[in-house]
């Protein structure tokens, strides 16, 4: 019998040795020449017309140059287009293009290429298509000059040309229909053959790139990692140098000597979509919508649920945008008695039932919290789970009286207007309109500078007064990076552009 154990022990020892021996190799293979980061998204198509906003912008930027670019504060600078000007009624935008740029397949970048790209963007279903709708015609004036005709002034256009709408792909690859599978751009990097789709994308810097100083890393590696814990483990063991994180990781990261940076991001709260009261009559009364706003203890929810990473807010615009009015955040302090009185005044002293659509995942734990606050003033929140968009989720949201969702906030504020305030906005599913809001929507595009900012702020104030939404907080996006790199935070973009990364010493 003893011998049997000896055999077993030997097998066990071999097994342990086998499994353990690959262990002690170094896990970090990074140098200052290489930037390795995780990304919560994966790029499923290289066609800029099919790309959907979010963190995938970093993959796109490695391959494609945009016409314009955004500085860290959200203002617009030239890029492939060096100069731009509007006509007096803001319906024609003329761009002057950089000369001597070539796409990776040798095709020259010129006015024809711009025209081919913008027309393609209009046809696509990616996030660029929303702004591209404003473009009625593209005229090539000369090889280096292009004129964009707009059906109506489009305040979000310049910013859009700095991202997906403006990413220039080779017109030859677009015409051939291969752009989705094989990217052909004029961007700073080429895609290395070491790339394994879905696992690791390796980009090598082009030695002859026209703006090479803006991209200090000779190699960039992006690893798609949808799981935040996996991404954090990779970062904390030196496999990567940067990640977009969740707020609850911040303290742990700081303690581990990693750099934590934040930037204002999405607003969280409820969209009270049925302002006409067609599904839930109570919502027609603005006092009811205000009561919902007053019934929420925003500070407690921010601290308890969102780990304090953000600021309580009653508004739905980006804090760095033209529309932001700080004082509005004092508008609806938590007050159960006042909320009850408003409901009673509106004829709902006995409360009512409010179906609220939500998606599974991180919003789920928020439901019982909101339920509790609303129940305290007599409103019964009935949770309705929406599926994914592929399973009709979009329709469930669009047909509902109210829903919670994380909402992006943008610079310029016009993107937010298009997202949720026009009668045809995706997140105004019941098509609610209001003459006062419509007046602002007509005037803002025609205005510029301070005049435009004033109109935006009046619009924002009106929306908050009428309680179109019940926002809780504008959260901080949290980013964690290693001490090897320096990252400049970029306003109103989910992840900073590649240009904002540099080795720590530089």
């Amino acid at each position: 019998m003893r011998k049997t154990y000896g055999v077993i022990a030997a097998i066990a020892a071999t097994a342990l040795a086998l499994t353990g021996c690959g262990a002690s190799q170094p896990t970090s293979g990074t140098s200052t020449d290489t930037l390795t980061m995780s990304n919560s998204g994966d790029i499923t198509s290289w066609d800029p017309s099919a790309m959907k906003e979010g963190s995938i912008i970093q993959y796109a930027e490695a391959m494609y140059d945009p016409l314009l670019k955004k500085s860290a504060d959200g203002s617009i600078e030239g890029n492939l287009a060096t100069k731009w000007s509007y006509n007096s009624d803001l319906t024609e935008l003329t761009l002057t293009l950089r000369d001597g740029i070539k796409f990776a397949d040798g095709t020259a970048f010129d006015a024809d290429a711009v025209k081919a790209n913008l027309e393609d963007r209009k046809k696509g279903a990616g996030s660029a298509s929303e702004t591209a709708k404003a473009i009625s015609k593209v005229d090539t004036l000369s090889p280096t000059e292009v004129k964009i005709d707009l059906a109506a002034p489009a305040p979000g256009l310049l910013a859009a040309l700095a991202t997906y709408a403006g990413f220039m792909a080779s017109p030859k690859a677009i015409a051939a229909g291969t752009i989705g599978k094989t990217p052909v751009g004029s961007g700073p990097y080429t895609l290395d053959t070491k790339t394994v789709a879905g696992t690791s994308y390796v980009f090598n810097k082009k030695p002859e790139y026209w703006d090479k100083d803006s991209y200090p890393f000779s190699t960039v590696v992006i690893k798609p990692m949808p799981d935040f814990t996996a991404a954090y483990n990779a970062l904390s063991t030196g496999q990567t140098e940067f990640m977009y994180a969740t707020a609850d990781m911040a303290d742990q990261a700081k303690a581990a000597g990693l750099t934590v940076q934040t930037v204002p991001g999405e607003w969280q709260g409820i969209i009270l979509q049925d302002r006409a009261g067609t599904l839930v009559p109570a919502l027609k009364d603005e006092r009811v919508r205000q009561a919902i706003n007053i019934a929420l203890d925003r500070k407690a929810i921010l601290d308890g649920f969102f780990h304090g990473y953000g600021q309580v807010s009653t508004q739905t615009f980006n804090p760095a945008s033209q529309a932001w009015v700080s004082e509005l955040n004092d508008k609806y302090p938590y007050d159960v008695a006042k909320a009850k009185k408003l409901l009673a005044d509106a004829g709902y002293a006995d409360g009512f039932t409010l179906p609220v659509v939500y998606s599974s995942g991180f919003q789920e734990p928020l439901i019982p919290i909101l339920q509790q606050y609303l129940a305290a003033v007599g409103i019964t929140l009935k949770p309705v789970l929406a599926g994914s968009f592929a399973n009709g989720g979009l329709k469930v949201y669009n047909d509902s009286a109210a829903y919670i969702l994380s909402f992006s906030t943008n610079i310029p504020a016009w993107t937010d207007v298009l997202n949720k305030l026009t009668p045809t906005s995706l997140w105004n599913g019941l098509g609610y309109s209001d003459p006062t809001v419509q007046k602002y929507l007509d005037e803002i595009p025609k205005a510029q500078g301070d005049g435009q900012a004033k109109l935006y702020q009046e619009l924002n104030t009106y929306i908050v007064d009428k309680a179109w939404f019940a926002p809780i907080a504008t959260l901080q996006n949290v980013y964690i990076s290693s001490s090897k790199i320096k990252v400049t935070m970029e306003q109103a973009q989910l992840v900073p552009s590649l240009r904002f990364f540099a080795p720590a010493g530089k």
Partner: protein, 313 residues
């Protein structure tokens, strides 16, 4: 024996056909819309309709089904609606990760489970009881939780293993072992417990048989009795358990892959179900069904080889 194998093979094929067919119509009935899933929320109704036409989703369901089946029989699983890649390519490039995990987990489970089970059976009393507790614990711990703990301790704290990523075997055999060790341990813990429990019980019941007593009374060495007589008769039930564990490991891989940032077919399945990518879901399903049928077939044949009585049943 040949007839037996043929009969089992036919039964397996029929099962695969029924499951795949059922799933196809089930997916169609649930209202999953790959067109909307692929284009996303910004797409207009007209764009979604155009995509539906492009994907052939506006045709009668039976037509779609027979097309899919015909293509599948010739080895073509179609193109992913959400990604610009063929389904076979997507599955084949991700397969090495998942197969490494599932096969590794089952091998480890077979080896350790066998040792623990035998050890518990031949050492009744305190050691057996202690091992029983360990086995029940191993069975009860969810593998995603084990994965999280292993990653935290052995990758983040001790740095013995890489926290994420997969190194292909051909690139670096040592790197490959390093990259799959923790995921395999996470996946195999439950299986080790299940197999150990099974072996322990079978070994004990075989030991109680009269013929073992006879062998002992003849003075045969204990090791001989254990290895040649007891284990041989105790292993068929463990074989069934092992096949079940392999199938469980395939499905458990989805979560474990995520924790370790591995891009296997589990990760593909999660992405595909989010975007309603029916072609990919069907491709994965077909693959899984074939594996399950094949594993069962092999087990059946082994059983038949071991025990002639099964062949008549």
């Amino acid at each position: 024996m040949l007839l037996f194998i043929l009969r089992r093979l036919l039964a397996g094929l029929l099962l695969a056909f029924v499951v795949v067919t059922g799933m196809f119509f089930f997916l169609t009935l649930t209202g999953t819309d790959p067109a909307r899933g692929s284009l996303g929320m910004y797409a207009t109704v007209a764009q979604v309709e155009a995509k539906r036409h492009e994907l052939g989703l506006d045709r009668p369901v039976f037509g779609q089904y027979f097309d899919w089946l015909g293509n599948a029989l010739t080895g073509s699983l179609g193109t992913s609606s959400a990604q610009n890649v063929s389904v076979s390519e997507l599955i084949l490039t991700r397969l090495p990760v998942t197969v490494s995990l599932a096969v590794g987990a089952v091998l480890i489970a077979a080896l350790l489970g066998m040792m623990l089970g035998v050890f518990a059976a031949v050492r009744p009393g305190r050691i057996d009881r202690a091992l029983q507790i360990v086995m029940v614990l191993g069975f009860a711990l969810p593998n995603f939780w084990v994965a999280l703990i292993l990653a935290q301790v052995f990758a983040v704290q001790l740095r013995w293993f890489p926290a994420t990523g997969y190194a292909p075997f051909l690139d670096s055999p040592l790197g490959w072992i390093g990259s799959i060790t923790l995921p395999i341990v996470a996946l195999s813990i439950g299986s080790i417990a299940a197999i150990a429990q099974q072996i322990r019980n079978s070994v004990i019941s075989v030991y109680e048989q009269d013929y073992i007593r006879t062998l002992r009374s003849r003075g045969l060495p204990s090791r001989n009795i254990l290895l040649t007589h007891v284990l041989r008769n105790a292993s068929p039930p463990a074989l069934t358990m092992l096949s079940l564990q392999f199938i469980a490991a395939l499905s458990g891989a989805a979560i474990v892959e995520r924790v370790f940032g591995l891009q296997g077919i589990g990760a593909v399945a999660i992405t595909a179900s989010g975007s309603g990518d029916i072609q990919v879901i069907m491709g994965l399903l077909l693959f899984t069904v074939i594996v399950v049928v094949a594993v069962n077939f092999v087990v059946d044949v082994l059983y038949g080889a071991l025990n002639p009585k099964v062949r008549i049943a």
